[in-house]
Amino acid sequence: MNLSATTPVISTKHLTKRYGDFVAANDITFDVMPGEIFGFLGANGAGKTTAMRMLCGLSKPSSGEATVAGFNVRTQTDLVKQNIGYMSQKFSLYEDLTVLENITFFGGIYGLSRRVLKAKGQELVQKLGLDKEASKLVKTLPLGWKQKLAFSVAVLHEPRVVFLDEPTGGVDPVTRRQFWDLIYEAADKGVTVFVTTHYMDEAEYCGRISIMVDGDIKALDTPKGLKARYGAASMDEVFYELARGAKRSGD
C-alpha cells in the first residue's frame, strides 16, 4: 500500500449522472478512508446503484470526478477494476460449480496464479469451515454459507475496496451477524468496505453512513452523529425523517 492512511481511498467531487432530463445521481461529493466501513443508504430509486456503478467503472459519470484506489473512474477503469471487489444483492456464485471451482474461476479472472489459488482456496475453505463441502456443488450449500463464500471470493484478490450491494438480502439475523464478522475482519486488514443496505440494524454496524434521497446525499456522518443531529433513538427514525420527503420510488 503506497498510499498513506490519510489519503482517501474513494473520493468523489460533484459526481453526477443524468439520463436525459432525469438526474439519477446529483452532485455527489464524499471521501472514504482506507479500512473504513462506509454505509450507503437510500430508498429504492434514490440513486445508490447508479452511484455505485460509476465508482466500479461500469458507468461513465455525466459530470464531476471520482477516484477509487487512487485511479480515475472515468479514464482508468481497468486499474480501478483491478483494485476493487464486488458482490451484488443477487447471489453471485455459479451454482453448478463446486466451492473450489468457483474460487479458482473468480481468482483466475483476476489473474491469480494456480499455485496461489490452490493455497488461498484451501485457506479459505478452512476458515469458513467448508472443508468437507469443498468439492460439493455450491447449490447444495445453505444460503448463509453461499453468501459468506461469495464475500470471501470477492476479496480473494486482496482489493483495496470492496463494494457490497445489499449483500445480506434474505439472510437470517444470525447469519447476517456472522457475515458482518467477515466484513469487520476484512476492514481490520485494511480493506475499505462500501456497503448498501436496507437493514437499519446493519447501518449501525457501519463506521459512517450517507443517506441518499432523490439522487442527492442528504446526510453523511457516523451513526451516532446522525442520531444526535436528528434527535432520534435509532437509525430507523433518522432514515424515515430524511426519506419521507422523497418523490421517487422504485427502481
Binding site: C56, G57, L58, S59, K60, D78, K81, Q82, I84, Y86, M87, S88, Q89, K90, F91, S92, L93, Y94, E95, D96, L97, E101, T104, F105, F106, G108, I109, Y110, G111, L137, A154, F163
Partner: protein, 368 residues
Amino acid sequence: MKQLLVFVRKEFLHVLRDKRTLLILFGMPIMQILIFGFALTNEVKNAQVLIVDQAHDEDSRRIIEEIDASSYFDVSVVSVSTKDIAKAFQSNNARIALVFPVGFGEKLQHTRNAQLQIVADASDPNTATTLRFYLTTILADYQQQMSKGATPPMQISTSVRMLYNPQLRGAPNFVPGVIALVLMLVCVMMTSIAIVREKELGTMEILLVSPFKPLLVLLAKVIPYLILSLANVASILLLSTFVLDVPVQGSVLLLFAASAGFIVTCLSLGILISTVTDTQQAAMLVSMMGLLLPTILFSGFMFPIENMPLPLQLISNAVPAKWYYLIVKDIMIKGLGIEAIAKELAILTGMTLVLILVSLKKFKVRLT
C-alpha cells in the same frame, strides 16, 4: 490469455455438468440423422408390383427380371388380366402395376418403338410418384441396354435422369439440412442462453466489474460452443458416411472450414439475441420462434424455395442456413470445390460482419 483459458474451462464445466444440455448437444443430432435417415424417408423399399404380362415374350420376361432384381420392388403377381389391377390395389397387395400389351416384344424389335402402361395407386401420391420414377428408371436402363449396337437404336420414350441422386434417395438431401439445423440450434440457442444465464444469475455484473474485458467474456462464451459444434459436424458426417452411406464427395477440409464460418455466423446471432433479451426463457423463445422455424421453412431442405411465392423467396435470402445448406450440398453431394461456393461464403461473411457489428454496439450500450 491465461484468464481466457480459466474462463473457457469454466464454460466447459457448465456444459458438462448440465446433462440436459449435453443430451441436446449430442443426442439430438444423432437422433435427427437416424430418424430422417430411416423413418422419415420417401424412399420405398420392396414395394409390391403387379405385372400384367399379355405379351409373354423375351423382352417382357427380361424386364420383369430386372424389376424383381431391384431392391425397390418385389414382383408379387404376374397376371394376364388388367382386371386384377384394381383388386390388387384394393387389397393392398400391390401399389403399382406394369402392363405389357400383346405383341410388346415384337413391336419393340421390329418397329423399335413400343409402349408400356404404368398404373399406380395414387391414393398416396408421394409413394406413387416415387414408385413411378423407380419403375421408369428401370425401363430406361433396359432400353439403353437393348439399344447398344443396334441400328437404328430403339426408341427411348422416357428419359428420366436424376442428377446426383439417381435413385432418388432421401439421405443426400437431408444430411446437409440436418447439419444446418443442428448448428443453428446449438450455436444460436445455446450461446444466447449461456450469456443470458449470467445476466439472470447476476454473475454478469461480477464479470463486468472484474478486470476481465467484456469482449473476452463473449469470446470465452462462444469458444466452447465452436468446439462442440465442430465435434457435432464430425459426428454427423461419420454417421452419414457409415450408417446412411452418404459420404462427403468433395474436400472434407473445405467442408469443415465452411462449417466453422457458418458456426461463427450463428454464434454472432446468438450473441445478438443475448443482448436484446434478459431471461433464459426469452432467449430460448426468440431462438426457437425467430430462427428455428425460418431455418426449417426457408433453408430449402424441407420445402423447395423455387416453389414459394416471390416475397417468401426474398425472405429466404435473409436466412443464413439457406446459404450454408447450399454450400454443404455443393461440397458434400456434388463434390464441388471452393469456386462453386464463393458466392455463398461471401454472403455468409457479410451477414456475420453485420451481426458482429450490431451486437457489439448493443453490448457497449448496455455497459454505459
